[in-house]
C-alpha cells in the first residue's frame, strides 16, 4: 500500500505517543498524529489544545487551534490565561509538539523571520505558544519536512529554545524539562545524542538513503550506530488515518 510522506510522519509521531500521555497538540501533522494515536493504540490519551480545550476527542481534525469540534468534545474548556498558567506552566503536559520554518542541529526552532529580524526576507507567523511549550512540557516532539533550507546549521533566529549550543545549555538556563527528544521528518527520525545534544539520525524511513538525508540536512549530519529502519505505515494505520482525513475534508469543505 503506497502512502505519502505526511502519512509517514503522522504515523511515526503517533507511534511515539502512549496511552498515558498528556499532549499539547499543535495544528496540522501533530493534530493528525495525536488523533491517530487516540484512534489506534492510545484510546485514553489526553489531548489539550492551547485554546483551552482539555481532554478533547474531536471526530474530525480541527483546521485551527480553537475549532468548535474541540470545545464540543472536551471534558472542559478553560480560559487561555489559565491554560498557560495552570496547565502548561504548571508542568502537567508530558508531550508538546513543535514545528517551524527552520531547525538547527541543536533542535532550536525559528518561526519568526528568515533573514534579519528588523528587515526580514520572510516574516513568519511567530512562535505563538512554542517558546513556553519548548520549556514547560516534559518532552517535545518536532515534526518538520526536511530540506537543506529548513534543517540548518544555525537558525536565523531562536524563537523556541531546544538545546541552545548543546550540552547542558538547558540546565544552565534553569530549564528542568527534557526538551526535544524526537524529531520526525519526511525522511527519518532524529534524536539528540547524549551528551552533546546534537541531533543524530536514529531511524530512516522506507526507501530513503543516507545520501538523501545528508543532502537534505544543512549540517554534517551523523547517523546513530544503532541506525534502524522505520516500519512503514501498516494497512490499519493508513485506513484509520485516511478515514479521519476524509471525515475532516468533508466537514471543512462545504460552505
Amino acid at each position: 500500500m503506497s502512502y505519502s510522506t505526511t502519512e509517514m510522519m503522522a504515523v511515526a509521531a503517533a507511534r511515539a505517543l502512549a496511552n498515558e500521555d498528556i499532549c499539547f497538540v499543535g495544528i496540522g501533522t501533530p493534530s493528525l498524529a495525536c488523533n491517530l494515536a487516540r484512534l489506534m493504540h492510545a484510546p485514553e490519551i489526553t489531548l489539550i489544545y492551547e485554546s483551552g480545550t482539555i481532554e478533547t476527542k474531536p471526530d474530525v481534525l480541527p483546521l485551527s487551534i480553537g475549532d468548535p469540534e474541540l470545545c464540543e468534545t472536551a471534558l472542559t474548556t478553560v480560559s487561555v490565561p489559565e491554560m498557560f498558567q495552570y496547565w502548561l506552566q504548571g508542568g502537567r503536559i508530558s508531550v508538546g509538539f513543535l514545528g517551524g520554518a527552520q531547525l538547527d542541529k541543536f533542535a532550536n526552532i525559528n518561526s519568526s523571520v528568515i533573514g534579519n529580524y528588523e528587515r526580514p526576507k520572510v516574516r513568519l507567523p511567530g512562535g505563538g505558544g512554542a517558546p513556553e511549550i519548548a520549556a514547560s512540557c516534559n518532552q517535545t516532539f518536532v515534526v518538520m519536512a526536511q530540506s537543506r533550507r529548513t534543517f540548518v546549521e544555525r537558525v536565523d533566529f531562536i524563537t523556541s529554545f531546544g538545546f541552545g549550543e548543546g550540552g547542558d545549555h538547558r540546565q544552565r538556563l534553569g530549564i528542568r524539562t527534557q526538551g526535544p527528544t524526537l524529531v520526525i521528518t519526511d525522511l527519518c527520525l532524529m534524536r539528540p545524542d547524549p551528551p552533546t545534544k546534537e541531533l543524530v539520525v536514529v531511524s530512516m524511513h522506507e526507501g530513503i538513503s543516507r545520501e538523501e538525508i545528508t543532502q537534505k540536512t544543512g549540517w554534517p549530519v551523523r547517523f546513530s550506530e544503532s541506525l534502524a529502519q522505520t516500519l512503514p505505515p501498516s494497512e490499519n494505520e493508513l485506513k484509520v488515518l485516511r478515514d479521519l482525513q476524509t471525515r475532516t475534508n468533508r466537514a471543512h469543505g462545504g460552505k
Binding site: 490565561p81 512562535g127 529554545f161 462545504g254
Partner: protein
C-alpha cells in the same frame, strides 16, 4: 452606564485614530463585524494588540489602519501566512508596520495582569529565546524566595477592548460560552470596552452559576450584531467557515485582488452576515 449603540455609532464614538485597541477572540468569537466597521470608518494609526492576528487584522493592516501590531502568532490557522501582514512588514505596503512580538504565554499573562491591576506579569518564559533581544518589553526578575529568574512583561492595558459574545441582557451584562480565550481579561484590562453580541435578550440564560459573565459596569457599549463573528464562529449559534479561511489565502495574496474583495465585501457592504457569503 452601559450604552446600547449601533455598530456604526459605537465605532465612531469609541475608536480614535492613534489609540491602542485590542480586538480579541481566540479563533472563536472574533469580532469581525467591528473590525470591518473600523475599516469603513477609515480609522488610522492604530496600535492593534492581539495574540493571534487573524484575517480581520490582515484586513485592517492591508487597508492601512494600523501603525503598530503587538502579537504572538500572526498566521492563517492551518492554512499559512497572513499575506497583508507579511507585505506590510516585508515591503512596507500600504505603509510600514511596527511590530512587538511576544509569546502566547507572555500575552495571556500580560492581559491577566492588566485585568488584575498589576503593572507587570511574571511567568516561566522566554528561556533562551532570541525574542528577549528584540523586544525591550521582556525583562527578568529574581524570585525573592528561590533566587530563580522569572520572565516579566508589562501589563497590557489597551485604550479600548472590543470583543464579540453570545448574549447581552437589557442591563448590559454579557455572557460568553465555549472557548473564552482572553476576552474577560481584555475587557477588564482595557480603559473602555465595546461588546458586540449575537442577541440582546431578557434573560442571559447562563447555564451555570459560574458562567463567564461580564457585569454591565465593566462594559461601556453593547452592539447587537448577529453574525458579527463570521467567518469565525459563535458557539451555540453558527460554525466556523473553514472554507473561507482557506479561500482567504488566495484573496489576500495579491494586493489588487485583496482590494477588490474588500471594496465589494466590506466597504460597499454594511451587512456583516454577507461577508462570508
Amino acid at each position: 452606564m452601559t450604552e446600547f449603540l449601533s455598530l456604526r455609532d459605537a465605532i465612531a464614538a469609541y475608536v480614535h485614530d492613534s489609540s491602542t485597541v485590542a480586538l480579541e477572540g481566540f479563533t472563536h468569537l472574533i469580532p469581525f463585524a467591528a473590525g470591518h466597521e473600523i475599516i469603513r470608518q477609515q480609522k488610522r494609526d492604530l496600535t492593534l494588540i492581539r495574540m493571534t492576528p487573524d484575517l480581520i487584522y490582515d484586513q485592517l493592516i492591508g487597508m492601512g489602519c494600523v501603525r503598530k501590531l503587538v502579537f504572538s502568532w500572526g498566521g492563517n490557522p492551518g492554512v499559512g501566512s497572513l499575506h497583508r501582514f507579511r507585505d506590510a512588514v516585508e515591503n512596507g505596503w500600504p505603509h510600514p508596520l511596527e511590530i512587538e512580538e511576544h509569546s502566547h504565554a507572555a500575552m495571556a499573562n500580560a492581559y491577566a495582569a492588566g485585568a488584575a491591576g498589576l503593572p507587570c506579569a511574571i511567568f516561566r518564559g522566554y528561556a533562551g529565546s532570541d525574542l528577549v533581544g528584540v523586544n525591550s518589553s521582556i525583562r527578568f526578575i529574581t524570585c525573592p524566595f528561590t533566587g530563580e529568574q522569572l520572565a516579566a512583561v508589562p501589563a497590557i492595558t489597551p485604550d479600548l477592548a472590543i470583543i464579540h459574545a453570545q448574549r447581552a441582557d437589557k442591563s448590559g451584562n454579557v455572557l460568553i460560552e465555549g472557548i473564552t480565550g482572553v476576552q474577560k481579561e481584555v475587557v477588564l484590562a482595557a480603559k473602555r470596552a465595546v461588546v458586540t453580541v449575537e442577541e440582546l435578550v431578557e434573560d442571559l440564560r447562563a447555564p451555570s452559576s459560574n458562567s463567564t459573565v461580564l457585569p454591565h459596569w465593566t462594559v461601556n457599549a453593547i452592539v447587537e450584531a448577529p453574525g458579527g463573528a463570521r467567518p469565525s464562529y459563535a458557539h451555540g449559534y453558527y460554525r466556523r467557515d473553514n472554507a473561507f479561511y482557506t479561500d482567504w489565502d488566495t484573496i489576500a495574496r495579491d494586493r489588487s485582488t485583496f482590494q477588490l474583495w474588500m471594496q465589494e465585501h466590506v466597504l460597499d457592504s454594511h451587512h456583516p452576515v454577507k461577508f462570508a457569503g
